[in-house]
């Protein structure tokens, strides 16, 4: 799980600012990695065994798995492009958990099969709901070009 992201920023202190893969970001990436694995395993299991029962819910599971995978990898990578990929992935995740959560609440018939995002991620201790918020906060804190009081003095 955690071996997937290759850390290349460690040996390049010059680019150390433009990375999300440090401090609390590493905890965030670890949690995303756990969700990438569990969502992938769950979607794979559902599609392999009972896809025909509820194609939409199971495709949604697969979509959620892809979003978590993209978020995990992009958060671990340095540079502006990966920042944008992270931002997109986390925003899609936030919209996904809210929309799917609302649909599963108001129209349980349409969502008979649980996905990671059903009922706002209740099956996962509501972590899927909190995770994108923390992700956005972290991305804002580490956005490229943002003035950094700590390193401004050093440079």
């Amino acid at each position: 799980m955690k071996e997937a992201p290759k850390v290349s920023t460690q040996t390049k202190p010059a680019k150390s600012r433009d990375t999300r893969n440090t401090g609390p970001g590493r905890l965030l990436i670890a949690v995303y990695a756990v969700f990438a694995i569990s969502a992938t395993a769950r979607a794979g299991y559902q599609i392999a065994t009972k896809f025909a029962e509820a194609p939409l819910a199971h495709l949604l599971s697969a979509f959620a798995a892809v979003v978590y995978l993209v978020a995990t990898v992009s958060l671990a990578k340095p540079g502006r492009t990966w920042f944008k990929v992270s931002l997109a992935a986390v925003l899609v995740e936030l919209v996904g958990v809210i929309v799917v959560g609302a649909f599963s609440l108001f129209d349980p018939v349409a969502f008979p099969h649980d996905t990671v995002w059903s009922l706002f991620g209740r099956g996962y201790g509501f972590v899927p709901l909190v995770l994108p918020v923390l992700g956005l906060l972290w991305l804002n804190k580490r956005r490229p070009g943002k003035a950094d009081p700590a390193s401004a003095n050093a440079q």
């Binding site: 799980m1 955690k2 071996e3 850390v7 460690q10 440090t22 401090g23 609390p24 970001g25 590493r26 905890l27 670890a30 949690v31 990695a33 756990v34 694995i37 395993a41 299991y45």
Partner: protein, 117 residues
């Protein structure tokens, strides 16, 4: 819930609390926190050996067998991945990464128990 689950529960909770406290004390991962995660791995290995013996002895897994072994294999990789990830950058945040192992392992052990019985 069987003895294996309660063993993972106890060791997992102790490990998680230990790592959280170390993180709150702004310590980097040290022998205590890494060994607590190693203890989780050890209990999971005992679970693995015990489960293999039970299957050989003729006990039947009620749920999907491959799902059970999938969970167990993934759980066994968690402590290794977390320790690897935490020592790449040794800050207090890495202790929170280690703290995630114990709770994740106990949730997975609960699911493994559901599949078995």
């Amino acid at each position: 819930m069987d003895g294996y689950f309660y063993a993972v529960l106890a060791v997992g909770l102790i490990s998680t609390v230990t790592c959280i406290v170390a993180g709150l004390m702004k310590k980097a991962p040290n022998d205590v926190t890494i060994l607590s995660v190693a203890a989780v791995e050890l209990v999971l290995l005992v679970y693995l050996v015990g489960s293999i013996i039970r299957v050989i002895a003729g006990e039947r897994i009620a749920g999907e067998a491959w799902e059970f072994w999938g969970y167990l294999a993934t759980a066994l990789m968690l402590p290794l991945g977390a320790v690897y990830w935490s020592i790449l950058e040794r800050t207090r945040w890495s202790n929170f990464v280690l703290a995630a192992v114990g709770v994740t392992a106990l949730v997975m052990a609960a699911r493994m128990n559901q599949i078995w019985y």
